[in-house]
Symmetry: C2
Subunit: 421 residues, 2 copies
């Protein structure tokens, strides 16, 4: 517990903001104004904020490219999913060109790549994942296992040893999340990938809570397959298209199961049989969302400008401040930090648990004007998005939270749970 | 050939526009202006025009719902795919509520429903489609057949007798397009559905070229499954999400293969195993594109206001005028009408074939300032979108086309084909 450094003094948070090299980027986003200007947003890891450049980009797409040029814009649109994929791969994923494409949803991409992986290991019978993996990962893998007559093994911990022990010569695929959606624990991608490869299995990593928050180096880690989300740290908006990565040397031998026309060689020849493009394009299916791909492009551009190492440095400082304040102010109120205490092991969110977590979360949103999110059964998840979250936001949010619980404001809230993403 | 009615007189086209009850709706779209104001757009069946209301809807989504309310908007967003599906179903598909959802791409939806259908007929070995069906339909079905060890039978004609003859007790699924993407021929949905049902097979109809152009009555026709596109006659923009229909009585017994979290009962309980929602929601996969779903909503609202019967009446009059002008002006230049001559058998586009079709199409776009599209090997496809195409547009387009071919303008163009959607 680091009381000595002055974490509980607001002036220290103000000084951290004053020294923050990324601070000017905050004004590149649409910020809550007017009656919302007191809002503290700690849910950029569920839905990131709106870049101002995205407004201009969409206006141009709508009014000029679609409105005026109409179908004549398709020749400039059709390559965008790969072009934006390359930019995303270079800025955030450590991926050489030709390995990333923006397409579909994370869930659909998990299905396509998971299926392709088990197809490539036809004599093997097992898929391994983390029992605490994000629900859609578990469900999609369960569906693949069901359809293929395979076993889905849910390992209880995402520790290297536990997972490595579960991988054997019957394992076709190991699919895990880089950063845990609840605890923010960072998995050892390189180590687990090597363990899977030692057993002859393929790996499929979900980067939903890491892409845009910390450096991902897929090529260097020898990752086979990855998917990720763009509406969190990439700030591409609600339901923006996801991305997928397939390392170059596997592309020719992997074939995804949804044989759509955007994966077809000489697509507009509209030939008789499916003949997939040799490159990353074969992992496309139907017509890409052009507004969605452009929103991803704008989000990536801001992160590229910031630089992922600077993003990570600020992220670590933000989550460390939150942990310090939680120790100082919240622990006496019954909270526990449910994220790794070592910042090197922690992504860009911090979960704090409390037996009354659900009611406290509701009160914090309604009366505290602080928006985190809630994850069952008892965790308040605070997402700290380095491009938009200030150090004073962390300080003020924790200050409002302790005050509210001290005053028992949450006790007037019910415990019925509503849908919150 | 109806020369007597005066089709070749521009004044008649002007009078048809003056009498057109749908004419005022044209100003509800962003129209080509300035240097583009001479453009005649006959490709609304590839990419429909931009409704002005969509600009306002997206501005509000971006600046207020996303920009200011952020994640707090999800409770109002999460039901939109079903709500817009219900509005689409009521206005355009003859579908009672709870059977349509806006989701994914047409190709992904074909995969989900085609897979679910063959799963529901486990002892059967065949899928039947039209050899002339749209490429992605053929490829996706080929992929399902490949994965399941089934036979994909490509029937040479979409005539009722030919297809009906191909359906037998081994047929699991019959999947066809309502309106042919090249010829605009309308299939007998009710008759072919009955033929499939007589043999115990399920049907999956692709409504890409009919939804929004003519009345579709899925419930009355006893259709099992359907998919469709929203960026054509629904004017929802490039890569807008598609829709799917599953008739109520089949929903509980059909299970699609991509077990994403948006199909999960009590999604935010994030429970251990996949347990799909009993209703149409189970055919969702990942997080829906909220901008996309809103764009679909705006497109549907305009068509609902127009009324699909009035849309169809104008469509028939537009395509009839084009056929009359093709007979009068283009037949002598070597063109043939490659669409049904009976308007009752024809959707809302007319294909005209010419041995030099590709070069003529390029010249027509570049110098004629008329934008149709081209379909190999020799067809110029003219899409007449009743909300935005005027009768004088048809007259002027055919006038420019005949003039250009008479002057041999196309002879200076090459025959290399570029990608055009």
């Amino acid at each position: 517990v680091d009381h000595g450094s002055g974490a509980t003094e607001r002036g220290r948070a103000e000084r951290l903001d004053a020294d923050d090299v990324l601070a000017p980027l905050r004004d590149r986003f649409v910020l809550p104004t007017g009656s919302e200007s007191d809002l503290i947003y700690l849910d950029g890891n569920s839905l990131g904020m709106l870049p101002r450049s995205s407004l201009a980009r969409l206006r141009d797409l709508l009014e000029e490219e679609w409105g005026q040029q109409l179908v004549r814009s398709w020749p400039s649109w059709i390559g965008l999913p790969m072009q934006v994929g390359d930019r995303l791969g270079a800025a955030l994923l450590g991926a050489d060109p030709g390995q990333v494409v923006v397409a579909d949803s994370t869930s659909v991409n998990l299905f396509k790549l998971g299926w392709a992986a088990v197809d490539a290991r036809p004599s093997r019978t097992r898929i391994v994942t983390d029992a605490g993996n994000f629900p859609t990962d578990r469900y999609v893998l369960e569906g693949i296992a069901h359809a293929r007559g395979l076993t889905l093994d849910l390992v209880e911990a995402q520790e290297l040893d536990a997972v490595a022990d579960a991988i054997d010569e019957q394992t076709a695929l190991v699919s895990l999340s880089h950063v845990d959606y609840r605890s923010a624990a960072i998995a050892d991608v390189a180590g687990l990938t090597a363990a899977a490869h030692d057993a002859g299995a393929l790996v499929l990593w979900d980067l939903a809570h890491s892409a845009g928050a910390l450096a991902v180096t897929l090529d260097a880690w020898n990752v086979d397959l990855a998917v990720g989300c763009t509406y969190k740290y990439l700030n591409a908006g609600p339901g923006a298209p996801a991305f997928l990565y397939v390392c170059s040397h596997l592309q020719a031998q992997l074939r995804q199961p949804i044989w759509g026309w955007f994966g077809q060689r000489e697509q507009f020849a509209m030939g008789a049989g499916y003949d997939p493009i040799p490159g990353i394009e074969r992992f496309q299916v139907g017509t890409p969302s052009i507004p969605g791909v452009m929103l991803v492009d704008e989000g990536v551009a801001l992160l590229a400008e910031a630089g992922i190492d600077r993003v990570r440095a600020k992220s670590t400082a933000l989550t460390s401040l939150l942990v310090q304040l939680a120790d100082a102010w919240l622990a006496p109120l019954g909270f526990t930090v449910a994220s790794p205490r070592d910042p090197a092991q922690r992504g860009s969110h911090v979960s704090i648990a409390h037996p009354d977590g659900y009611r406290i979360c509701r009160a914090l949103i309604d009366e505290g004007r602080v928006v985190p999110d809630f994850r069952a059964p008892d965790r308040i998840r605070c997402g700290l998005s380095p491009l938009t979250t200030r150090f004073v936001d962390v300080w003020d949010a924790m200050d409002r939270l302790r005050s509210l619980v001290q005053r028992g404001v949450h006790l007037s809230y019910g415990s019925d749970r509503a849908a919150v993403t």
